[in-house]
Symmetry: C2
Subunit: 300 residues, 2 copies
């Protein structure tokens, strides 16, 4: 089944302890849709400026990612982010964030986009996430991401959003902030009780946790020795997870757990190089091979 995503398309500058890369392809919707494209067709909603290289759009199109929902604003400037990773490669500081054309984005979805059964609202303004849900009909599964900025600045609209979605994906510090709980197990269930049927907490290099009414579990990250650039790991995780669910066409508990595992594995490849550079070089069968290793790793 097809999968709709709204989120950012951006141009990133990434500083790591060993290397800095300027003006590389990034953005939550970019990582998400590329990751999901290993599993299913993706309909992308986003906005860029005149400075957006058309080659980036071509790269996505070549992956069966529908870019009719991508607006190019004449005279506008694309979302830009600059960040620096600390030595542990897990913590980072955002040095610059320029929303640019994203600030005024008011999408109107193409007709067939509105009937997409699987919808993912990548990290972005909460109001924009509401606007997408307003236009969709007959959605089977609505999942959203959010971040500290929106938790702090739009708590009421975020509370409304939690009642409209089936699943929420967020990282550990965001879950603590939103719930007021320091213990992640309590935090996950506390967030779940505000609306979503399930909550996923991403823990970076430590994996991800899942919470539903009847299930609590944690899956570790795949232990890769080659962490080059963690940017987009969380979005790649979500893309792998949602892509697999859309491919399977259901979200039964067993499917959800396998989807979590695929998300973890796509993310483990994503961090092995800057931007999409590693994901571009792998195929579904590479994911499959790593899945077999991962299953073996967790069997005893």
């Amino acid at each position: 089944m097809s999968l709709l995503v709204v989120g950012t398309l951006g141009i990133d500058t990434v500083e790591t302890p060993s290397e800095t890369r300027h003006d590389v392809l990034g953005g939550s919707a970019v990582y998400f849709s590329y990751a999901a494209s290993f599993f299913t067709s993706v309909r992308l909603v986003g906005v860029v400026g005149e400075d957006w290289p058309p080659a980036y759009t071509d790269l996505l199109r070549a992956r069966n990612i529908d870019t009719r929902g991508l607006q190019v604003i004449p005279g506008g400037r694309t979302f830009r982010w600059r960040g620096r990773y600390l030595a542990n490669m897990n913590d980072r500081e955002s040095l610059e964030t320029h929303l640019n054309v994203v600030a005024q984005f008011d999408p109107v979805l193409p007709d067939d986009y509105r009937r997409c059964p699987f919808v993912f609202l990548a990290n972005g303004p909460t109001e924009l996430q509401h606007k997408i849900l307003d236009q969709c009909t007959g959605v089977a599964l609505r999942v959203a991401d959010t971040m500290e900025l929106w938790i702090r600045t739009q708590p009421d609209r975020l509370a409304d959003l939690l009642k409209r979605i089936d699943g929420l994906v967020m990282n550990d510090s965001e879950a603590k902030l939103l719930s007021g709980e320091e213990n992640l197990v309590r935090a996950g269930h506390a967030v779940r009780q505000r609306g979503p049927k399930f909550v996923v907490i991403k823990k970076g290099e430590h994996g991800a946790m899942f919470f539903s009414k009847h299930e609590t579990y944690v899956l570790p990250a795949y232990p890769t020795p080659r962490v080059v650039d963690p940017t987009g790991a969380g979005d790649s995780f979500a893309g792998g997870m949602m892509g697999y669910l859309a491919e399977q066409g259901n979200f039964e508990p067993a499917t959800l757990k396998r989807a979590m595992a695929y998300g973890i594995l796509v993310a483990s490849f994503a961090v092995e190089d800057f931007s999409l550079d590693r994901l571009i070089r792998i195929e579904r069968q590479d994911l499959q091979r790593r899945m077999e290793e991962y299953r073996t790793m967790l069997s005893f």
Copy 2:
């Protein structure tokens, strides 16, 4: 098979965000041997002062822990530690550490102790760890723990120790310090290449990693919503792991992985109350039930 452990027996004062407990039973060898006693008989080597409550020794003896190797120093004072946990319950600061009688401890092992096939050198002065190995003969498996203090102050003796042991257990920050590697997968293998056949890196609430020449894996912590006091979690992990290996009487790769899982589960109980208060209330069948949940959690 029986299991020998040398380490500290202490009296701890533990401050958590919600509660402070004064003068409770603690120490690496205490947590280790209690945890191991779910699986096998333990021979304890350690030293305490005149202030040591005999009831603590009785508590250990009641668990089939042989305390003939426990020296009581007349006029001496027992090892004391005072620590404070941060809000996340994973990071802590040591406020006071008084080695007291441990500083001059020079153990002479009873004859039958020397022939114990499984030996664990809990965290303590590196020289003391060497002294134990010097007295043992025909050991099948030698495993040690260490910590920042000894890595910084006794690097050469620690390097010698790494060549005499089969396995090393340490936490993530210690592994980074010892190896100079920030990536834990690289850190684990770098430490392994200095001598031990396997290395275990404990990651607190995030589980534990295992490294041998042919294996790299990570197992997550059991997600308990009730983390009351993490003191002794690492020692309980090691006790569960070594206890299970000694019970099985081998250290084949499959046994080692199950041992890691048991270590994780014993530790998950240990953190659910102060001191040994939670471990005292469980039985082997509680571990078994949690093991079934844990296996289910990791199956997909």
